[in-house]
Amino acid sequence: MSMLHLVNKSPYENGNLNTASSIMQSGDVLLLLEDGVYGAVKKGKASAMLAGHTVSVLGPDLAARGISEDKLADGVTVIDYAGFVDLVEKNDKVQSWL
């Protein structure tokens, strides 16, 4: 049993990534989308919250915001909307941290 966690806000805007990353359990997956992708930028302090977690980020949202993939924290997987659908299928339920 595993949960897919969605975070769509910048960690510098509010605490959603903090809450999600601190409550996630082993085997869970975190998907950063919309403004949430800023949390995956390696040089940003918030990327430290991703340590130890399985993290994906929505490629179209990175590109929209001018974030090239080489700027991402290590181990972050870039996916598209089809990959998003796959994550929903692979995990038992989805928690949207709004």
Partner: protein, 136 residues
């Protein structure tokens, strides 16, 4: 026909009045009560503010919907999780919140506490055991 029963969790993380999410989430919980699923409600992060006692909205011209939480027990919603860390961060204790209860038909209508104070880690386990998670 056996209707499937799922574990429904309604998660509240936003303060009341500044936005409509708290009230409109409560409306979902109340309507959802009629569907005979295994319902739980969580208050965490700013959601804990929704349960604070003594709300007086006369000055801001909005309907004070906080009395509605006291009715949750009557709707057979008896599992209300409040996150400890969220309270502590905000300088709150259970005493600041409404005392929510339900009446146990199986024990001669004995009044019981609906609020379960849980740590973030315990809440993680509770959420992991649910089937459907609603967020607002």
């Amino acid at each position: 026909m056996a209707e499937q029963i799922k574990k429904f969790m309604y998660i509240n993380r936003k303060a009341p009045y500044g936005t409509i999410y708290a009230w409109e989430a409560l409306e979902v919980v109340l309507i959802g009560a009629a569907f005979e699923q295994d319902v739980s409600v969580t208050f965490m992060d700013d959601g804990v503010y929704q349960l604070v006692k003594g709300q007086d909205t006369s000055g801001i011209g909005m309907k004070n919907f906080s009395p509605t939480y006291a009715a949750l027990g009557d709707f057979e919603i008896t599992k209300i999780y409040v996150e400890k860390e969220s309270l502590e961060e905000r300088g709150l204790t259970l005493d600041d919140l409404q005392h929510l209860v339900w009446e146990d038909e199986d024990e001669d209508w004995a009044e019981k506490d609906s609020i379960r104070l849980v740590s973030r880690a315990e809440l993680g386990d509770v959420l992991a055991g649910q089937d459907v998670l609603f967020n607002f």
